[in-house]
């Protein structure tokens, strides 16, 4: 009797308690998909970057960092993607804050704000060229109003790409921030109001601290989107100069110079820079309160 009580449960039972059972096999197709279409090409690329035609194992990386034309793409990309991501997040907060309640036409307004996602970068670029270009409506209005003497250059330079990143990135940021905000118990602000907190203090002391972790996550996602910008950097940017981002450098290396190892090295470095920024942001996020945003039971 005591032997039975003391016996360890069957192996299968013990594994099941740790979540290992035959249902795990259902994961197999998805795992296979990820391995063949993501992990293998990724590792292949990393391997390729260490097999340059000249300069030894680290030759491609050395070339990247010694060539200023290549090296500076890091800063060019960061100069575009960091402010764009920051603006997207910061602009989303007040708009989402105003829109978290229920009101008439909320759905219509949300749709309008989110539509740019569906347009795609190329259509956005075309719109930008038509609107902000040297002969676009914007400049023609300024000129005819006598506000400027010559067209303001807003496309085919830094600003064209920046606008494009904001137009395509804002809807993502807005939707994320709106859902984070909706998750914050509205009775918290009401409680703060009865305790004497004015509008700004309620936001600053209650809502913002609870929203901050979500803002960090939102920033990371929009940053990654903006960092890998390629089409708009070419179409509305200045791909040979101020908007020569890393993805253009990688494209050049691969399809103009046919230097696949160098292109792979650029791609790997892109990933590393992104990881560094994300690690910094998430490190800051870890310092914040990230628990429940409900006010109690119920």
């Amino acid at each position: 009797m005591s032997a039975i009580v003391g016996a360890r449960p069957a192996l299968r039972h013990r594994l099941a308690e740790r979540g290992i059972d035959r249902q795990l096999l259902l994961l197999l197709p998805a795992a296979l998909f990820v391995v063949t279409l993501f992990i293998y090409p990724f590792l292949y690329g990393v391997g390729l970057s260490f097999q340059p035609t000249r300069g030894g194992t680290l030759g491609a990386y050395r070339e990247f960092f010694t060539d200023a034309y290549l090296r500076d793409t890091i800063f060019t990309t960061l100069r575009l993607s960091l402010p764009a991501a920051l603006l997207n997040v910061l602009a989303s907060v007040p708009i989402a804050y105003r829109m978290r309640g229920r009101f008439r036409a909320k759905r219509l307004l949300t749709t309008l704000l989110v539509v740019p996602i569906t347009l795609g970068t190329v259509l956005t670029a075309q719109g930008l060229l038509n609107f902000l270009g040297p002969t676009g409506w914007f400049n023609r209005t300024l000129l005819s109003a006598g506000l400027v003497d010559a067209p303001v250059r807003l496309t085919n330079n830094y600003w064209g790409v920046f606008f494009s990143l904001v137009i395509t990135g804002f809807p993502f940021a807005f939707l994320l921030v709106l859902s984070y905000l909706s998750g914050i118990d509205p009775s918290l602000e009401r409680a703060a109001a009865t305790l004497g907190a004015g509008r700004w203090q309620r936001f600053r002391r209650i809502t913002l601290p609870l929203l901050a972790p979500g803002l960090a996550t939102t920033f990371c996602l929009t940053f990654v989107l903006a960092f890998s910008v390629f089409p708009s950097a070419v179409l509305v940017g200045d791909p040979a100069g101020t908007t020569r981002v890393m993805s253009i450098a990688a494209y050049d290396a691969a399809y103009v110079r046919y230097d696949y190892p160098l292109a792979s090295a650029v791609a790997v470095l892109m990933g590393l820079v992104e990881l560094l920024v994300i690690a910094a942001v998430l490190g800051w996020r870890a310092l914040l309160y990230t628990g429940s945003t409900a006010g109690g039971k119920g």
């Binding site: 009401r190 409680a191 703060a192 009865t194 004497g196 109690g296 039971k297």
Partner: protein, 382 residues
Amino acid sequence: MSFETLRLDGVSRSFGGHEALAGLDLTIKRGEFIALLGPSGCGKSTALNCLAGLLPLTRGSIWQDGARLDVLPPERRGFGMVFQNYALFPHLSVRKNIAFGLQMRRVPRAEIRRRVDEALRLVHLEEHAGKLPGQLSGGQQQRVAIARAVVLEPALVLMDEPLSNLDAKLRLEMRTEIRRLHQSLGLTTVYVTHDQEEALSLADRLVVLRAGRVQQIGTPEQLHTEPANWHVADFMGYRNLLPLRAGPRDGTGIVVEFEGHRLTGTPVGDPAPGDEVIAGIRPEDLRIGPAGGPGVPAGSPGVAAGGPEVAAGSPEVPVGGAGVPATVEVVEYQGREVAVEARTDGGVALNLRTTDRPAIGDRITVSVEPRRLLVFPAGGAT
């Protein structure tokens, strides 16, 4: 900060054409404990939110002594509020939650510390001061919410069903706690609840609401013994509400006929003979006698049919007509007493309480004193 009277003058609130609160008139004196009582959707929480300033009024006004209050935003009214879900700031420690209102009022740091310590002591949470609300139990969270509201020494404390999320035992403890705080701090409290027992035990005065309208305002005793209409009676524990037809007046009493038995009751309002009325009786006011009632001559209307319990009582006590025979169907154990559901021969279920232990299927006779049988006009509510 404090006031002598707070006057609600025709306070009304509509939501998209639906009137959630219609013309609430109420004067609250300093130090009073007022309970707003009613079923869900009766407008009691609406009234509280209007008082707090969280909902603008559709009509009416609120006056604190001579000053008009309903035009002020919530942060400038100086009322403390305890929310149903506590609404504690999840990212702030217990101490910071309680200090929040004092910080908003720019109270000096040393005084904040002293007053928060005092509030923590008041609700017995000294050792939890550094914890986040999520680490506390429901009862502890509720105490933090109360401390956060009363630390400001507000002119008025508003409580929105603060005990509804607690389990039964804790609810009783916190109920006493709230009443104790109200007395010891000299607070003025408006308390919203749907639990009549809670309201009766806590409040100095009760306001019973139904469908946005005031049904009755009075002391617990007034509401308990003299409900103004059958809706209030329903809420005050008159579980037996029998739709009957009014008979002739009998002195100050009124005769109603129930399944061929003439019962004498006390009229509330002015039901005329022939009117449809509702007879209300508390379960504990129904008396049980053994079967055999129908056998007793109807010539002894003053005495219930020979039940030993009734017969043993004072013979001067008039009993509302002869006993009504019924069969015991359900017996619920409730400690010293049992709750019995008995069905009359006419098929009407009666709820009663007794210290006897009737068995299921027993034949009994049920009777009631005239002053314990209230006869309301069937329309009743305003």
